[in-house]
Symmetry: C2
Subunit: 432 residues, 2 copies
Amino acid sequence: MIKIFNTSDSNFSATFMEILNRGKMDIKNVTPIVQNLLDDVIFRGIDALKENIFKFDKWEPRGLDDIRIPLNDLAKAYNQLDDNAKSALHTAYDRIYSFHLKQKPKTWLDFEENGTVLGQKITPVDRAGLYIPGGKAVYPSSLLMNAIPAIVAGVKDIIVCTPTPSNEPNNILLATAYLCGIKEIYKVGGASAIGLMAYGIDGVKKVDVITGPGNIFVATAKKLVFGEVCIDMIAGPSEIGIIADENANPKYIAHDLLSQSEHDEMASSILITTSKELATEVSAHVSMILPSLSRKNIAKESISNRGAIIVAKDIDECIALSNQLAFEHLEILTHNSFELLSRIKHAGAIFLGENTPEPIGDYLAGPNHTLPTGGSAKFFSPLGTEVFMKKSSIISFSKQALDELGEECAILADLEGLDAHKKAILVRKKEI
Amino acid sequence: MIKIFNTSDSNFSATFMEILNRGKMDIKNVTPIVQNLLDDVIFRGIDALKENIFKFDKWEPRGLDDIRIPLNDLAKAYNQLDDNAKSALHTAYDRIYSFHLKQKPKTWLDFEENGTVLGQKITPVDRAGLYIPGGKAVYPSSLLMNAIPAIVAGVKDIIVCTPTPSNEPNNILLATAYLCGIKEIYKVGGASAIGLMAYGIDGVKKVDVITGPGNIFVATAKKLVFGEVCIDMIAGPSEIGIIADENANPKYIAHDLLSQSEHDEMASSILITTSKELATEVSAHVSMILPSLSRKNIAKESISNRGAIIVAKDIDECIALSNQLAFEHLEILTHNSFELLSRIKHAGAIFLGENTPEPIGDYLAGPNHTLPTGGSAKFFSPLGTEVFMKKSSIISFSKQALDELGEECAILADLEGLDAHKKAILVRKKEI
């Protein structure tokens, strides 16, 4: 079911190219449709939202009041949660909060002897919009992972948009919103929701930052509004890469590959190993476990079409391939996983050792589960507090500092032919 | 020449709205043209570049060798620099380097008592592309401000694209490239250059990050390739805001406003003051200084059409207006400038006190001069090393940690109906 390749196969480079291109999304093709949906929100406001909710979610809101979820419903949903779920959500909240507090950048100032003060003031944005998918599956963990960095950043206004088919909100999602202290939730999805958040409508102020996962329409809409607002990243289907040597447990690996495959038919699950025996065993376990999964149809399509086991000649080759692929999730299941860490150049999140299955990171290890996909870990980072914050440089020169550096500054202005720049320096040195 | 408004004017809100919208760029209109230029690079490679260089820069390269600047030319240009220019460029380099080293994020690990290890590995991207405008004016400071963060980040491969009309490279730009240790420079500009860097062509590898200023075609191209690569921001015309009380020196302010206006007819220069007298004096100084400027035509058009002096009723109102406008550059020229710092919510760079004219920040104070414009300081940050770096989360659980947290993790997977996620946990707890 899951295919096994060997790096020494004559056609391996074609296979590898296919895996390299796993994340390609056809954004260009859907751009005109998405641009129209965005423009519609700009020009028609609430009427555009009503029409699209009717079209996509099959219910008829009368106005904004119908689209916004009442505060009372959130508390009610939270109170209905059973104790185990409540406790698990709180554990996840606390651990995610604590990790993001540690990675939060802080304002700093530096003083030079001549009286110069330089630094960065780092402050939260005023208002953030979180897109949380709904429909077929609802992921409260996505809400935690998007809301908590904004909360830790210190964002005052956090709003959520989520598609709500048949006007039936998911209770666990509402309960999670209550846990996060979110008060403003709109039942709208897709490009319209991104338009609502990016441009605002009568009664809903525009936001400064939009984050959150979504399908290609949401991803394209986020790209189109970039510049009007900041966005986190453009994410595609989820994926896992596993580097394993002969010491790894094949049953664990099979489960980890399948846990990625069950997300989505387009998900990729790739094992890169030095051991031919392990490859065969993992493949057998995958075939054995699959029929028992509740989402076996999705997992099967994903693992057969977009899963792969690659047998490499040594661990160096495993690492080289992994760095080229820049996986969203990378598990290292070797006898010396920590030692390999220094050689991993590109990956969204790195899971070390056999006690760290990827789902631990999806829910409650602490780091964010919103990660760059499709090789974009070569330049994008996990979602973090910094997306909800921005920096202002701080510069203060003393008279002495200006005396010391003014002349060279004027020379540079001169090199660029910027006369008024030079004069702004000289006037203070009483030289004009 | 520069208009004076009062916040109590009956039509002030219309004026203010115009200033709020100062940064609007019509990216949507140029998108089809720019998309074609990008596609052309993808499909025709070097032929597309040759054709566009001929069209826009009026010379005929025979091939890639003609487009790339020979290494020898860089050293030669550097050696031809006069000593004052050399020394000023070195001072700027050193100060910018030192500031960016201070703001560079660092890898960290955190250990919990139960054996959990969490952290972030922060590493440079492999290859960065810098777009440096050329043509009418050439700005070596832009090269310093884009290259140094990449150098400090640790990027191994840094390439530069710059339009070179008539195939006549600017010597100071080449000298600055030599100073920065940049070895790969291509004489190509506009959307084609962004396409070259984002997608690569035969002989030029694609980059991971593109930064640098440019006109609306460059800005649009950067937006369109976002996702294929990371970009810094989408920047529009430059601008300055100045908050001043009655203690400020009107002559200094007039010079600072004009130093922004001389950049570009579309630049905005805005003074917000509590003092009617200061407003009148600044206006008089602006009219007096302007005719003496070498770029007086540009400055005049900019300051008359997009300059403004706003008289506010008190310092609180000055700050509130400034926070709404979120200036790229903000000077605070009041008796207590440092005390106001805590109340400035949004600004690209904040210049405190009368010895800190904005041009100091353009050249050699240390912080980056690539700053968010048009109000986008509400969510974008100055260019920094982090644009050339990315984070990988690190997660390692011990057996004990998995025992402690596995069950709650499985509960959360269950809430989301992700069976295989749950099983990846349970199999390690020997529960399946």
